[in-house]
């Protein structure tokens, strides 16, 4: 027991002290951007063998809070403009848009067909909490459509909503269209009519003057980047 403890503390000390290889550029991005951005980073790293892009994927509000607390980021891409404004960044570019969609388990146990079905209190429906961007977007859809979703849980992120639908714990959820595009075959999307849907605009900005950060943002905004974004289920500005 004592030896095990000694070994454990040694490992802890070693791992704490070993120098981390510092990546060339650090990108803070909204969780929904993960599949597309990882693909783009791979492209960039392939092009230039020495380039290295490190990611921090999290909720947009979290990312901004981390930067305000002093976290080092070279690029920030959030899921809505208000979080970007909160970060106090002047030069931002809108590079993608995202709409909301209903997501159900592949076998659709609740037999959900339209948005108004989500008002059924017998169905287990999960959405994002109004405090996070995907939840704010859901509220806008509710307002525009007049459908009062009978919510059973307000999650902190799209990933949590998706997880609860994927596991069959919930009958339906409301997430970004791009999330369903990359979620795999366990779930499927049911469109929300364009007339009542809401469009989230994704801004991106370079913080500081790192040349590789600039190149990453240029790639995102390029034709190639737009194609990747489209394949990941995003709309384009």
């Amino acid at each position: 027991m004592r030896r095990a403890l000694a070994a454990a503390s040694l490992v802890a000390v070693l791992s704490g002290c070993s120098p981390q290889p510092s990546p060339d550029t650090t990108v803070f991005a909204a969780s929904s951007l993960k599949p597309a951005f990882e693909q783009l980073a791979a492209l960039l790293e392939q092009e230039d063998g020495t380039a290295e892009v490190a990611f921090n994927f999290a909720g947009s509000a979290d990312l901004v809070a981390q930067i305000q607390q002093g976290a080092r980021a070279d690029v920030l891409a959030t899921a809505d403009e208000s979080t970007m404004t909160a970060a106090g960044l002047p030069a931002t570019t809108i590079f993608a848009t995202n709409t909301m969609t209903i997501v159900v388990p592949a076998d659709n146990p609740g037999d959900v067909q339209t948005l108004s079905d989500l008002a059924d209190p017998d169905l287990l429906v999960v959405v994002c909490a109004p405090q996070v961007p995907c939840g704010a977007a859901t509220v806008r859809v509710e307002d525009a459509s007049g459908v009062d979703i009978a919510t059973d849980s307000e999650e902190g992120s799209v990933a949590d909503v998706l997880g609860k639908v994927r596991s069959g714990q919930a009958d339906a959820g409301v997430v970004y269209t791009s999330d369903v595009a990359t979620a795999g075959s366990d779930v499927r999307g049911i469109d929300i009519p364009q007339a009542v849907n809401t469009v989230n605009r994704y801004p991106i900005a370079v913080l500081g003057d790192d040349p590789l950060a600039r190149r990453f943002v240029d790639l995102v905004l390029s034709e190639q980047g737009r194609a990747v974004m489209r394949d990941a289920g995003f709309g384009l500005p």
Partner: protein, 257 residues
Amino acid sequence: MRDLLPRWIYLPAAVGAVFVALPVLAMFSSVSWRTLPELITSEASVSALLLSLRTSATATLLCLLVGIPMAMVLARSRSRLVTALRPVVLLPLVLPPVVAGIALLYTFGRRGLLGSTFEAFGVQIAFSTTAVVLAQTFVALPFLVLSLEGALRTSGVSYEAVAASLGASPTLTLRRVTLPTVAPAIAAGAVLAFARALGEFGATITFAGSLQGITRTMPLEIYLQRETDPDAAIALSIVLVLVAVAVIGIAARRVRT
């Protein structure tokens, strides 16, 4: 009494104490005291606090119901099977709470091992307060079991042996000898379990969801408030710290006397 400790030991002990106390002090120092009353009496805050107290109390009760027998079996049984099972029973202690939540999901979830059975009986666990209590009980149980088992091992079986030799049945011995002997340990274990249940976050958010008044306990409310209103998150954290300190303080006094 002369101090038997070597003097140097106070240095690392002080470093440890500062390491634990400083973050809490830092939090207190960043509270906006002016808006504090307003922040902690909002409907969402009060509802979260009441839910937390209610679910943690229920979880503690469940822990006592099954935890006391578990500790007794673990401390007294000589069966190899019990020895082999001991690490399993204590697993929640070392399991990351999120993992505990996933494990519970695959057990009591609607598509889990037992979930469909519960659904068949019309019991719905998904996104209910029951799910919160289950998550809290799961993570808090080992705290009670471990502290009580230790006390039982320390107290030994000599009094029980005497009671048995005088003709007392095992149940009578348990009631009149064992339980009174370890009562302080039961109380201490229950307090630990309650405190752990109060702070439960990972398993709850993974397994139970988050809805005001139903599943959104204090830690979940704090996590959510942090998104938009860091001041409110800190204010609620202070309340949670004070509740936890009060519970531990009261219990420590009880156990000592």
